[in-house]
């Protein structure tokens, strides 16, 4: 493991972003995959792990009296502000991180070296955990109207679609091929979700190449086939999720939107969700608000408004709700597209499915949903998440917005999801971590070319292993709720502190209801085992329980209680001298740090041999206080 540390720097300070607490002092290590900071000043050993893939930007700030500052922004919204003693060291860390955080070739991604010591068979089984065919079967497909076709098996129809797609039986190969020539990048209308109760379907595609007047008979036949696959409704919706102005502008480039006159019985509708560039800038503004040092309430709310972030979230949610209502209440099929049909379309279709079908609100179902609407249908994770050194204008928080919409739904419907907020955060982390193969590349074909399925691991089995901590204790089961009809008035949307200020523990509730309930659930299982074991030992016991026993219920829960973060923050903007004499500092909470380490270190829970070895080395070095140079 001598080659493990690429760099080691002593006397590095880690500043606290919000308070005037004394900065931590410690050692910074760079490994092939992580930046590791070990705080030597804390009474209890504290480690901060940052995955190189998570690093969005590294900035050198102007020299301060404390040294050379290095500011790191992560894609999971972690911000680390280091101050390094020597300029030379600072520069070395800076250049190394620039290189490490922006791999050029896909083979350099973590997933290709990540080795959890799992057998080949298990790895392969892991990739088979999610089978989209099973989901189509669940919807009743194939049936009289819909079929799974391999018309795209050699990616001849569309190279960003998967080999197997679901199209109306009535649309023959000629129609499919013809339609594909009239759709941007050949992304023809295919089925996303079939609402079994009334045969209304959600279909998705890219914009038509209609320009100002072009039309295509096969495309018109394709839409007719989709409409006729739902005999219960005389019409279907065609939803363009872009603002009308954007769609019109596209006509000049030979693209555009459907002319209602050319298609029989369609109702055309624009839903103004902004494009990836607007969303990227919006997130940037939001993060600036989140990073403000002691903002006033006005600063924060004005900043939140000006960022437009919640406006965009609401737009996505509104679109999802429109689709779900069209399908359920109006019994009409809906065809959705944006420009290429892989960003806004993915958001809206997956949200609508989530609203309509309780299956997608389970662990397994949510994995299927992401595999189906995002991964298989060619959301360009690699570009949107900036996995590789590339065009920064391609980066956009499209998937983050979807995850946030799900979180917003969880706030309104706390008992309807099998999983909790942490599950969403884990997925969000791994979309950027490149530790698993699922989100690499831009489409199915590219993942095949990269040999993802042979060389990397799938995320889903790893998340299922952690089910206990990711579950929602309030979940009332699969059958308790069917369709969800969320309130989308503006006050129904909250700022998601747990995402955008996730690493600023001081801002979160100091006691966690989720932890408390999860411990109740695990307690419950122990107690049930206990009770049945005792009952077995008492063969003659069968009568009613003595009532007086009920008063003893508190016993045994104390141990599971989560310790509480408990330090005052700066209540004075400029504290009087007496108040800033360090009484506020030095009371860094032990549990929160352990917790933080756990969260920051994505691979820590997995049996990762070499990294664990690294931890071991770090631990032993910290003990004798004299780390060696390599």
């Amino acid at each position: 493991f001598y080659t493990l540390f690429m760099l080691q720097v002593e006397n590095v300070k880690l500043l606290d972003r919000y308070t005037n607490r004394k900065a931590a002092n410690g050692t910074l290590y760079l490994t092939a995959t992580h930046l590791i900071y070990v705080d030597a000043s804390a009474e209890v050993r504290k480690e901060t792990w940052i995955l190189h893939h998570h690093i969005a930007t590294v900035e050198k700030l102007p020299l301060t009296t404390a040294g050379y500052p290095l500011l790191i922004h992560c894609k999971n919204f972690h911000v680390a502000h280091f101050v390094i003693g020597q300029e030379h060291d600072c520069h070395e860390v800076y250049t190394s991180l620039l290189k490490l955080s922006q791999p050029v070739k896909p083979e350099e991604l973590y997933a290709f070296s990540y080795n959890p010591k799992m057998s080949k068979e298990n790895r392969e089984v892991g990739w088979k955990l999610i089978d989209l065919k099973v989901d189509y079967q669940r919807m009743g497909i194939p049936n009289d109207y819909w079929e799974i076709t391999d018309v795209n098996k050699d990616y001849e129809v569309c190279n960003t679609y998967p080999p197997e797609i679901v199209v109306p039986r009535a649309a023959n190969k000629a129609v499919v091929i013809g339609s594909s020539r009239f759709r941007s990048r050949g992304r023809i209308p295919v089925l996303s979700y079939l609402y079994k109760e009334n045969n209304a379907a959600i279909c998705r595609c890219s914009q038509p190449l209609s320009g100002f007047s072009a039309r295509c008979l096969e495309d018109e036949q394709m839409l007719q086939a989709i409409r006729e696959a739902n005999p219960g409704s005389p019409f279907m919706y065609v939803v363009d999720t872009r603002p009308k102005l954007n769609a019109m502008a596209n006509r000049a480039a030979g693209k555009g939107y459907e002319n209602e006159d050319n298609y029989d019985n369609i109702r055309f509708k624009f839903i103004g969700i902004e494009n990836i560039h607007v969303m990227r800038n919006s997130l940037q503004k939001l993060l600036e608000v989140c990073e403000m040092k002691s903002p006033s309430m006005s600063d924060f709310l004005t900043g939140l408004e000006n960022s437009g972030w919640l406006r965009h979230i609401k737009a996505v949610m509104d679109a999802g709700v429109f689709l779900a209502k069209a399908v359920k209440n109006e019994k009409a099929s809906v065809l959705v597209h944006c420009s290429d049909g892989w960003d806004r379309t993915a958001q809206v279709c997956s949200l609508a499915s989530l609203l309509l079908d309780p299956f997608y609100r389970t662990f397994k179902g949510f994995m299927v949903l992401i595999e189906k609407e995002w991964i298989a249908m060619g959301h360009k994770f690699s570009h949107r998440c900036g996995h590789l050194d590339g065009d920064p204008k391609e980066v956009s928080p499209v998937f983050t917005q979807f995850i946030e919409c799900v979180w917003q739904l969880m706030q309104q419907f706390p008992c309807t999801f099998e999983f909790n907020e942490r599950f969403l955060l884990e997925i969000h982390d791994h979309v950027y971590s490149c530790q698993f193969g699922n989100f690499l590349g831009t489409c199915h074909k590219e993942r095949e070319d990269l040999k993802i399925f042979e060389k990397t691991h799938s995320l889903w089995p790893f998340l299922l292993q952690k089910k206990q901590e990711l579950r929602n204790p309030l979940y009332r089961g699969f059958t308790a709720y069917k369709e969800l009809q969320p309130n989308t008035l503006p006050f129904s949307f909250q700022f998601w502190c747990g995402m955008y200020n996730r690493f600023d523990k001081g801002m979160h509730p100091k006691q966690c209801v989720l932890d408390h309930l999860l411990s109740c659930v695990s307690q419950k299982m122990k107690l049930e085992d206990n009770a049945s074991e005792l009952e077995n030992r008492l063969p003659f016991f069968g009568g009613p329980l003595p009532n007086e026993a009920c008063s003893l219920s508190k016993v045994g829960r104390a141990a599971s209680k989560t310790p509480m973060l408990n330090t005052p923050q700066d209540y004075e903007v400029e504290p009087p001298p007496v108040l800033s004499n360090g009484a506020l500092a030095g009371d860094i909470d032990v549990t929160s740090d352990v917790d933080q380490k756990h969260k920051e270190n994505l691979s820590h829970h997995q049996d990762l041999h070499d990294l664990n070895a690294a931890i071991g080395v770090l631990a032993s070095k910290a003990e004798d206080g004299k780390p060696q140079h390599h």
Partner: protein, 550 residues
């Protein structure tokens, strides 16, 4: 009976009631002296709505042909609509409600007529007496005494008859100090921090005026709370600017020269119409049905409600920090010492004292720091967010306090014995109630109105097990620590339970709450079962052994 004169039309049939998220219901409307009663005529699902006239904040009427519509906006922020056939009937009913909801005389209010339908276990009027509080204090310190100087309310009209003051200060000195403080509100003990013996006192502003008047007794009084060589903090809830301006009107603040052992910190907490305006704007924003996100956020920001929450909480945290972390005594005051002062002293106690986070302790806090301390409830809560009266003395000071408590409760969900419903209940009763607890502006007025003899106390009703069970927090686990809330904007939220309560369906959130209760309850039962089984097993084993021995 004079109510009869006010009720021109006591009853109307075929009235349709509209409420958000409910189907419209047809039924009969009745007016009584204190209630508006609506009962649906549907046989299968008879439904009754009882609304106290005193809960009505404003009423609007509209006509379409001969169909009249009354929109009733309540102090608890609910809005209902009644369609009443017949123009005359509708006008009569509207004017009756208007008259009955704005009665001048306190003694005509419902609490004077209310006869409880429950058995009184404990008289709430006697639940929280100052002597009891002093007894508790005497167990830990002998530096304080109970003074009866205000027995006849002769020294300070807004103080209770007995107050706790430093032992070394006699009543004669207190009289002099009273002359030096606004409204005679001389410094009294608010809270004793057992952990380190530090105290929090509260008062009104000193009457220094422009020529810097001083009062040796005042200085002596507050210095009596300092440990030798230690400094104390004066938290003035006004900005320095406002405090300086107060001198022109005879008020002012403690000069460094005369109070060398005290460090003064100014915190700006708004008062009166600024707060009332803030409430009106916030509620207006919450009732806006527009789908425009920017408009919502900008209205929320412009209401400044959360800014006030942040300011009040910050000041309270500062006071608590001085006491607990700095080991210093604190004096809190603003101008009158009846509003922002009480917000700060009561919230600081929530932070510092685990007892205040229990149901009984919180009730005691409300009694001590709000009712007995002379917060003018009658004036402040006369109207709520929908009224156009705009009287200077109306202000949601108590609601802001409850909101701050809710913010702390949200951050420490396991540290409070009570739940959000308890706080909402107190909000409702402060504005309209069948109980006499929140009537009057101070103990003096309450005693003149003979409220304890003539009305029922809210506490008599709440503190019965059938009511208490609704207000208990299933997550509560006694926590003896000081709890430090975060005051970052990201940590403070709109109190949906109050402000969005009538604007969204609560079904799914209620179910979540129910589920949480069930999980915890089931675990307790399981634990009990396991314990019982263990005991049974142990007994059987003992029996076996005894039999073997025989």
């Amino acid at each position: 009976m004079e109510f009869a004169e006010l009720i021109k039309t006591p009853r109307a049939d075929n009235v349709v009631l509209h409420r958000p998220f409910y189907l419209a219901v047809e039924g009969t409307l009745c007016l009584t002296g204190h209630h508006l009663i609506f009962s649906s005529r549907r046989q299968d699902n008879a439904e009754e709505l009882w609304l106290l006239h005193s809960n009505i904040d404003s009423i609007e009427k509209r006509f379409v042909g001969s169909l009249g519509t009354i929109i009733i906006k309540c102090k608890d922020l609910r809005i209902i609509q009644l369609d009443i056939p017949g123009m005359e009937e509708c006008l009569n009913i509207a004017s009756s409600i208007e008259a009955l909801s704005t009665l001048d005389s306190v003694t005509l209010m419902y609490p004077f007529f209310y006869r409880p339908m429950f058995e009184i276990v404990e008289d709430g009027w006697r639940s929280f007496l100052p002597d009891q509080e002093f007894e508790l204090l005497s167990l830990v310190t002998d530096e304080w005494r109970l003074s009866c100087i205000n027995k006849e309310f002769s020294v300070c009209p807004s103080y209770p008859p007995v107050v706790i003051v430093p032992k070394s200060i006699d009543d004669e000195a207190l009289r002099k100090v009273a002359m030096f403080r606004h409204g005679s509100r001389f410094p009294v003990l608010s809270y004793y921090h057992k952990k380190n013996g530090m105290v929090m006192m509260r008062s009104s502003q000193p009457l220094t005026g422009t020529n810097g008047r001083r009062c040796k007794e005042d200085e002596k009084l507050i210095n009596a709370t300092l440990r030798p060589g230690k400094r104390g903090y004066i938290i003035d809830t006004r900005s320095l600017n406002v405090a300086q301006q107060a001198r022109a009107k005879g008020g002012g603040f403690e000069q460094e020269a005369h109070y060398p052992q005290w460090r003064r910190i100014h915190k700006c907490i708004e008062r009166f119409n600024i707060l009332q305006e803030s409430l009106i704007k916030l509620v207006e924003a919450c009732n806006d049905q527009s789908h425009n996100m920017d408009r919502w956020l900008s209205k929320l920001e412009a209401s400044n409600w959360l800014t006030h929450i942040k300011e009040i909480l910050t000041a309270a945290c500062l006071a608590a920090q001085c006491i607990d972390r700095e080991g210093a005594s604190v004096l809190v005051h603003g101008t009158e010492g009846t509003d922002s002062t009480l917000q700060v002293t009561s919230l600081a106690q929530i932070i510092l004292d685990p007892r205040c986070r229990t149901i009984c302790g919180f009730e005691s806090l409300v009694v001590r720091e709000w009712l007995q301390a002379g917060h003018p409830f009658q004036q402040r809560c006369a109207q709520s967010a929908y009224s156009n009266s705009k009287q200077k003395w109306e202000a949601p000071v108590f609601l802001l306090f409850l909101d701050c408590v809710w913010q702390i409760l949200r951050q420490f969900p396991c540290s409070f014995e009570f739940n959000e419903q308890f706080l909402i209940m107190l909000f409702e009763h402060a504005y309209a109630s069948q109980f006499g607890t929140f009537l009057g502006n101070n103990e003096n007025e309450r005693s003149k109105l003979k409220l304890p003899q003539k009305t029922m106390s809210l506490w008599s009703w709440v503190n019965r097990s059938e009511e208490l069970s609704k207000f208990q927090n299933p997550l509560f686990e006694a926590n003896s620590l000081v709890i430090w809330p975060s005051v970052a904007p990201q940590s403070l939220q709109l109190w949906e339970g109050v402000f969005l309560r009538w604007n969204r369906p609560s079904k799914f959130l209620d179910e979540a709450h129910e589920e949480m209760i069930n999980i915890i309850k089931y675990n307790k039962e399981l634990q009990a079962k396991v314990n019982a089984l263990r005991r049974q097993l142990a007994e059987m084993e003992t029996d076996d052994r005894m039999q073997e021995n025989l």
